[in-house]
Each structure stands twice: as C-alpha cells, then as structure tokens.
C-alpha cells in the first residue's frame, strides 16, 4: 500500500479558482505545483467537467488532474495504490457531503481530491498537489 509521503500535503487549493471559472479566459492554463515549482500541465479547456486527464510533471511523475462542475480543479497522483496501475485520471469524479472525490476505475475505491485520503480505507491515501489556473 502506498501512502502519502513526499508530495505536498497542503490542500489542493486552487489559487486562481474563484468559483467563477467562466470568468477565466478560454486560453487559461492549468498549473500544478511540483517540487521544482509551478508547472503548466494543460489548457483549462482540455479538462471536461466531471472527468480527469493524466499529465506528467517535470520530474517524470504521473498526476491526475480534474475539473468539477463548479470549475474547481484538483490534482492527485495518478497511481491507484490498491492495484499499482496508473489509472486514477480515468476514474469518475463525484461528490459526497460537498467534497469532491475520484473513484478508481479499477476497483472503485474513492479518494478525497483535497486530502488524498481513501474514503473506503483509512489507512490508504494518495499524494495531492496544489493546482492553479491562470
């Protein structure tokens, strides 16, 4: 089992997200904070609300980046700690009690997108990354 270790533990606050994602220009870019600093990963328009994409950080790590209906963006490690496969970006985004989660497409465990904690197994979590849109 992999648990959160090296990655940023700060909540994935979306510094550029004001809840009015529509105000962001069409050409806006999504950036994720890697160890070496903010890295652009994709255009905001590459993100379909409710779905994720996989991206590479400059150090070669795989992350999963999501956008919700309200326009908020999230990033977690792409690796599903239960199976070892790099697939979380292909999971479905959901919400429970107002908090966003992704369900692994393999065995459907859910991970809180802000804390990385697995909602179905307290002992497991995934690394989370700060995201901003600009």
């Amino acid at each position: 089992m992999t648990t959160a270790t090296t990655a940023a533990t700060a909540p994935a606050t979306t510094e550029a997200t004001t809840g009015t994602a529509t105000a962001v220009t069409a050409g806006a870019r999504v950036e994720v904070r890697a160890e070496s600093g903010w890295a652009a990963v994709c255009g905001l328009s590459d993100l379909v609300p409710g779905r994720g994409v996989a991206a590479l950080l400059p150090d070669g790590r795989q992350i999963a980046v999501f956008r919700d209906r309200a326009g908020r963006t999230y990033a977690v490690a792409n690796r599903d700690p239960f199976t070892g496969a790099c697939v979380l970006s292909r999971g479905l985004l959901g919400s429970a009690g107002g908090r966003a989660f992704v369900a692994s497409p393999l065995l459907k465990q859910r991970f809180d997108l802000v804390t990385g904690r697995c909602l179905d197994d307290d002992a497991v979590s995934v690394p989370v990354y700060a995201v901003r849109t600009r």
Binding site: P49, G50, G60, Q62, R79, T83, A85, L106
Partner: protein
Amino acid sequence: MPRTPRPTIVLVGHGMVGQRFLEELANREVTGRARVVVLCEEPRPAYDRVQLTSYFSGRTPEELSLVDEGFMERHGIELRLGDPAVAIDREARTVTSRAGLEIGYDTLVLATGSYPFVPPVPGSDSTGCFVYRTVEDLLAVEEYAGRSRVGTVVGGGLLGLEAAGALSGLGLETHIVEFNPRLMALQVDEGGGAALRRTVEGMGLTVHTGVGGKEITAGPDGAVTGMTLSDGSAIATDLVVFSAGVRPRDELARGCGLQVGERGGIVVDERCRTADAAVYAVGECARTADGMVYGLVAPGYEMARVAAGAIAGEMDATGDAGDAGASFTGADTSTKLKLLGVDVASFGDALGRTEGCLDVVYSDSRAGVYRKLVVASDGTLLGGVLVGDAEAYGTLRPLTGSVPPVAPEQLVLPAGAGAPAALGPSALPDDAVVCSCHNVTKGAVRAAVTDHACSTVPEVKKCTKAGTGCGSCVKVLTKLVDDELEASGVTVDKGLCGCFAHTRGELYEIVRTRRLSTFAELLDGHGREEARGGEGCEVCKPAVASIIASLAPALGASGYVLDGEQAALQDTNDHHLANLQRNGSYSVVPRIPGGEITPEKLIVIGEVARDFGLYTKITGGQRIDLFGARVDQLPAIWARLVEAGFESGHAYGKALRTVKSCVGQTWCRYGVQDSVRMAIDLELRYRGLRAPHKLKGAVSGCQRECAEARGKDFGVIATASGWNLYVGGNGGATPRHADLLAKDLSDAELVRLIDRFLMFYIRTADRLERTAAWLERIEGGLDHVRDVVVHDSLGLCAELEALMAGHVANYRDEWAATLEDPERLRRFVSFVNAPDAPDPSVRFVAEREQVRPDLALLSGPDIPVRRLEALEGSATR
C-alpha cells in the same frame, strides 16, 4: 408400538404430502431410528403438483421436484420408484409391491392421494382422451396437442381451468364444459363466476355451463372427433381432457378391510390414524375426523405433520416430540390462484352458508373485477370471494373470524373510491396466519426479523418457510419484513445511491416523461436535497448515462456516448470504448455477429494483434478479445479494424454483447432452422443498445440446444414450426435457466417479442440487475412480463416497439464515429501534456508465446517518465 428395536415405517405414495411426511419424520429424528421404506407409483420422486401447469411455461419436471438433492441418502430412506403397493396384510403386517417385494411394517402410512374422476360418458376411452394429474399426463397431452386443432376440457373447476389454460397456451381452440351453472362452483358464487366467465371468454375460450358431456364420438381409427353435450349441441374436438374432480385412492384400504367413508376416503381420527393403530392415512386419500376429504395441499401438509408427530411420540423419539399430541380437526380451504392470468381467491365461508350472514359486494364487470365479503350481523368477517383482483386476499384471509378494524365496504371498494388508506398487513394481529401453506403466523415472521436477524425476504423465507408454498403471501411478507426492519431502526432506502432517493426504474420514468437529456438537470431537479448542485457519483453517473442513451432517440439526444456532458458520466470503459484491464491497458473486442467470420477478417484480427503485440483469446461469446493495448494505441488499432469492416463489439458497455449461435440447419444434420442467420439478424438489431446491465442472447437451431440459449437473457430455440423464445437466463455465480415466454413464433413475431421484452426490462430494471434477477424480483414474475409483452396488458407494447425502432434507426458504430472526429480522438493519449509518450507503467512479459502484464512493475515504486523536453510545448495545445 414398535415390535423391534429398529422399527420399520412403510410409506405408500410419494406425492407432495408423502414427501412432507418424510421431512416431518426427519425433523423429529425418526429417520435415524427407524427403517423407512417408500413405495412410489410414479417414475419420479415427489414434485410440485400444484405448479404442474408451469411445465407448459418452461419449467422442467426436474425443476418441479420437491426433493432436495441427497435427501433420501442423508436420511437413509429407501425410495422405490415405479413400484406401487398392491396389497396390505394387516394380520401379518406386510405390504406387497407390484414388483413382488414383501415388506414387514411396524407402522404403515397411506398417502396414496387421489385419481381423476372420469364421468361415465360413452367413448371416454377413445384415443385423444386424457386426464390431468401427473407429469406423465401432461407429456401425453402436449404430445397429442401437437397434432390437434380443438381441445375440450370437461370440468370448470380449479384444475379444469388450469387445463384449459394449458390447452389454449398450446395453441388449441379451447372449450370448457361445466355441469354446474357457473365456473368454479365450489369456490365462488354466482357473481364471481360471471366475472370469471367474462374474463375467460375474453381470452378466446368458449365456455359451456349447465351442460354435461353426453357422448364422445370417434373416427374409424378410434381417435376422438367430437363431443355431444346433454343439451343436444356438439363440439368438433380432437382432444378431451377430463378434469371433473378427483376421488380418493382408497382401494388398498378397502382391500384390507379398513373402513372408508360413504363417498370414499380412508376413515381416520384426529391424529390421522385408522381403526388399526399401526396404520395411518394422510392427504387426499384420508377422510378426516370432521368427515371431510380435503383436496388441497395445505390440509395435507397439516395431516403429515400430525401423523409424523404421533409416530414420533409412540417411538418416544428424543427429537421434537412436543407436538405428539397435535390433532387434525379440520382445515382452512381458502385458495388464491391465478387461472388463465385471472386472480381468483376464496376464503372462509365464501358461499355465505352461515345462518343470518350478510353480503357486501363490489362488482365492475367492465374491468372483470368482483369482490364479495360475507359478514355476520355483528361485523365479524366470515369469508369472501375475490375475482379479477385478489390483492386484498393476503390481508383479508387472516382477518377471517374477527371484526376488521374498518368497515367491510371499505375493504371491497377499489383504492381511491372513497376508501381510506387500504388496510395493510400492518393491521393484522400477531397470531394471524400469513402463510397458510406452511402455517406461519405474522408473529413468526416478525420474530424472524427481530430474533433471527433476517433482513431480507429471501432470508425470512428460508428461516420460516413462509412464502415457499403457493407464493401468494409473498407480497404481504415483503411488507411485514419492511415494517419490522423499519420498526427496528433499519431504514430501508431503495434509492440508487447517495445522490438519488429514486430507483433506477423511477429515474427512467422521470427522464422519459420529463424529457430530460442531461445528468445535471436530473440531479439538480430530482436528486436528494444534499446532492443537488454536486457532482453525482460513480454509481449514478453511468446509470443515468445509460438511461439517457437508451432513450436517446425519443429524447432527441445524441446516442453517441462520448459527446458533451455524456462524456463525463461514462465509466472509463465506455469513455475509451475499450475494457480497462488490471495494469491500466485495455482490451479490444470487434463485433463478430453470431460468431460467423470470414477467413479474411480472421487474418486481419491476427495481423492487428501481431502488429500491436496484443494477447489474443477466444471469448465465451464466440468472438476474439485482444488484450494489452495502451490507451494511445486504441485509435490506430481501430482504424485497421474499421477499415477491414469491423465495428465495435460493445464489450465495454452495459449493452448487448453477443448473440451466440450453433451452426444450424445449413450444415447440421439435426438443425431445423437457420440459427446463424437469426443470430446475426438479432445481434445487428440490438447492437449498441444500452441497458441496466450487459445483455446476452443465443439462437439454437434445434432442441439439442448447442448454443446454450437458456443460459442467456434472451434465448431462441428452433422448432419445426418456428422459434421458441426463452427469457431471463444467466450463467455466472447464480445460474438460471431461461423461462419459456412464447412458442412457435414466426421470424417477425420473435423479433417483435424480443423488442418489447428488452425495452420493458430496460424500463423497469434496477441498476446492474440482469434479466434473471429482474424476473425473480418484479411482482408477478414471468406471468406479469408475459401479460405485458405478449398480451399487452399495460397498453405499452406500441411504445416499447417504437423505442426499439428508434434505437435501430439511430444506431451508428461508435468507433467509426470516433475515428472521424479529431475532437473525440483527443482523449486517447496517455498524457495530456505529452501525447506522444507512452505510459511506462504499462509493460508486458512473455508467457506461452504471448504477452501478459508485468505485475512486478505495478507493485514497485513509481516510474518517472524520461521524456520531459516536450512538456512545455504540449501543454498549450
């Protein structure tokens, strides 16, 4: 009293009551202490005679069996099939069997049942005259009906109507001849009989009442040609079934000097014992202490219990001999059945024979509904008759003998006609018998939930046996279990998920009637309060996507599953039009309709697999699965496949998978129809149809059933004159044989019925509920589904057919459509910011000359990708 340390009990007759008697002995641990020998006339062990007619709707004789596998062996019972008793010597205490076996007994139990009464009509021994009592009788009727056009049933009682339903179901023009002035004269009154008659006639059967058969005419070959009635009229009929009541089989008892009743039946006392203390009689062959001969199974079961208790008591068995003193003094003859699809129930003093009793009657001849309650002047409910809608039976019967908490007229009025909230099972007292087949009280059902921790109806059935007899109480049982669970603080939430309080079926109706084409509208308008405005979840998003896809043509929505908001709702399999495997790679399954494929296409599949390094395996559905494709390889793989004429096989979707076939008439020397052509036609018709779960079909070219069609959601088996359609089959963890829905269909009739069946399933099933589980769950089961899709009882068929026509007209291959559209292709990359970089975690190793996932890689540390220079450039695409 036992003469020997290990006494011998001989049971003569192995019908329903005989088997129950054996179970009662086993429960009391008598079988371990006594030798038990059973002489059975029929060639098969006890089966459910009450459900006999269900043979014609696809139940096999094996499925009707009442004997659990290994029961006889486990309890050391010696069962001699096809070897009836022919003589009893009470002096020597021996029974002689037809095979010549002479068995000494300490205790003899007669459970010989009854025989069908054949009225003394000249010609009744002609070829083509039958009775209707055993599996063998049914087999004979079925065989003869195959070469008959008109069938006549003599007798309009319970069994007569069942037999008439069977003949009608076999496609015969059917007549019913009843000597009494009305149908079911023993159970229902004149009004009920009239309602019943109208409904039966409405189904195309001809009813003759108040007349008897005078003569049966036969041709020179001795086969029936017609029947003359007592009023001089005649019916040209090819087949006659006598179902004019039964008579107790008491000839063995007469032969050994035991007393029989004036109108037959072995005379027994309250403990089911004859004047000879070593001989008992139970079931339909017994004339009980109240002077009755009961022809129903519930009293027979009660007699089996009483006799077993008495015998156990004599032996001083250590088992539960607490009921050794139980007695049988009379029984409830209430009945509820579905005859020819009509609910008929009668209970208590149905015919109003109690002195000074009063009637409360509701009659609606337009709807074929008749309800009558018989009450005493003080309001005590004495009995009643329900025809056309016997819903209230489960509540009314247990209330018989008490003053119901609401006025009688409110109990017969239809809901909404000024009646207050219907009197539900909740109003029953604890000692009310809910299941009369097994004598289970409401209190026992409640105890099963509270004391035995049962939390579902199947668990309660297993624990109490309630609902496992005729099944008429299951609805009441369900309500009681729900009530009890709720009372103990368990909330029974039938909602789809945390976002919706509705079931999938309810959401389907909302989407359909309000013409919603987006998930957001549905969630924000109809979701649970706390979920509105949210994201939904991994349960409801794909379920709603499937509903919208099924209804797409009717909603004017795009059926393409990757467009717009739909894209965000789909599970990854639907999103990438491929099946995600454990290491993050995908498998690819091109459609091979009916399993038929040209050598050229086989070569293309081989070449594609070779060129992309894919693992290949033949599936159970007669096609080929290609494993190990990275997400970024899918478009290139499919470009090759589409060019060669393949299309999506929808292996990734909750959709039609395959329609399997055997090779059929074209090549097979046994085949009677072209099963391959039909399988291809069906697969092409339903390809791409989104459903609550995957759908599988099969077509067999003859009764040998090589395509295993009865293991499919819809299975088609060829007959000499067309196709038989079976539905609700399943393999997997809980296998289920499909049930016969309709017989001898033409091509067009077959397609029309499957259209309706599938659309009705899609409309009403729960999420991830296969047709097998759906058929088991929905109220009324197969009969209800047949009413809806064959007889159009809900007036839905035109709409169901239109929905399917819309699906067929709107079908497009999803992969061809994806390849044509650069926007749709954009998702098929491993990384959004490095579209050319393959995912390094998807690696393979060799095994048996092919590849398999490198699982060691998955359990290791993260593998960084070594190709970072492209990052900046690609992020701005």
